[in-house]
């Protein structure tokens, strides 16, 4: 994929970062406004598509670190499970940390809605990691076909048989 024109690059430079801010906002306010972890995570993941389309494949490949996204995905899933298990005193995956509406909060650091917002953030992490990795892997596969690196045999799980 080749980089696009200067106009597209300029717009992308401004808009792509805005997508991250907007996605984080949607994830953070998922318990109060429409949206949530899945939706916000998908918005954040569009950042990589912006970079890929506007900046081109070379910049994309040199810029992306797969480890970060793998880490995000793993941490998201584990954190979601742990926050869900906080509801054990009441029942499994039922939020017992929530403070009833109108009651005095324990601390301004503890969210009013208990674990819901934390689980939102955890799911947001996972979706950001997963969707970004999907883009990275699929582009990597296209690139291999373009350069002929992976042609002439099947790749993947059976590569050791050859």
């Amino acid at each position: 994929m080749k980089p696009l024109s200067v106009i597209v690059l300029s717009v992308c430079d401004i808009f792509a970062w805005f997508m991250i801010v907007f996605g984080v906002y949607v994830i953070n306010n998922g318990h109060n406004t429409p949206g949530g972890g899945f939706q916000g995570g998908a918005i954040v993941a569009t950042f990589l598509s912006f970079i890929l389309v506007a900046r081109g494949g070379k910049r994309f490949v040199s810029w992306v670190r797969k480890g970060i996204y793998t880490f995000l995905e793993f941490v998201g899933l584990v954190a979601f499970f742990i926050f869900g298990c906080l509801g054990f005193p009441n029942s499994f995956f039922f939020n017992s940390v929530a403070i009833p509406y109108g009651a005095k909060p324990l601390s301004e650091w503890i969210p009013h809605c208990g674990t819901i917002s934390l689980m939102n953030v955890a799911v947001g992490f996972e979706v950001v990691g997963a969707l970004s990795l999907v883009i990275v892997h699929m582009y990597g596969s296209i690139r291999m076909i373009d350069t002929g690196a992976g042609m002439g045999g099947e790749r993947g799980h059976d590569r050791f048989d050859r």
Binding site: G30, H31, N32, T33, P34, G35, G36, E73, G76, L77, F80, F81, G84, G87, F92, F93, F94, N95, A98, I99, P100, Y101, G102, H112, C113, G114, T115, I116, M119, N120, V123, E126, V127, G129, A130, L133, V134, H137, M138, G140, S141, M144, A149, G150, G153, R155, G156, H157, R159, F160
Partner: protein, 90 residues
């Protein structure tokens, strides 16, 4: 003979489908509304989440969401296995 069996089977299946649509519950007229009302009334007062959908997804049906997250994880693992680089290139 095969054609006859196929036609009879199709007619029986069509009849069953028609019967199913006859017996289906009318849209917008729920029989028991206690549970719906409970969720709508208690989403804000108990769970303190203004977004009822979020309180459903992450609280009342949190286990379901864990399954969704696991599905996403599995799908990504499959994609990684399918699209990964094939090791050494000559």
């Amino acid at each position: 003979m095969k054609k006859m069996i196929f036609i009879v089977g199709a007619i029986v299946l069509g009849g069953l489908l028609c019967g199913m649509f006859e017996a289906i519950h009318p849209f917008g007229v729920p029989e028991q509304t206690e549970m719906d009302e409970y969720f709508l009334l208690h989403a804000l007062s108990d769970r303190s989440a203004q977004n009822v959908v979020t309180s459903m997804v992450f609280d009342f049906r949190g286990f379901d969401t864990l399954g969704e997250a696991a599905v996403l994880f599995t799908a990504l693992s499959s994609i990684s296995a399918l699209f990964r680089d094939g090791g050494k290139h000559e």
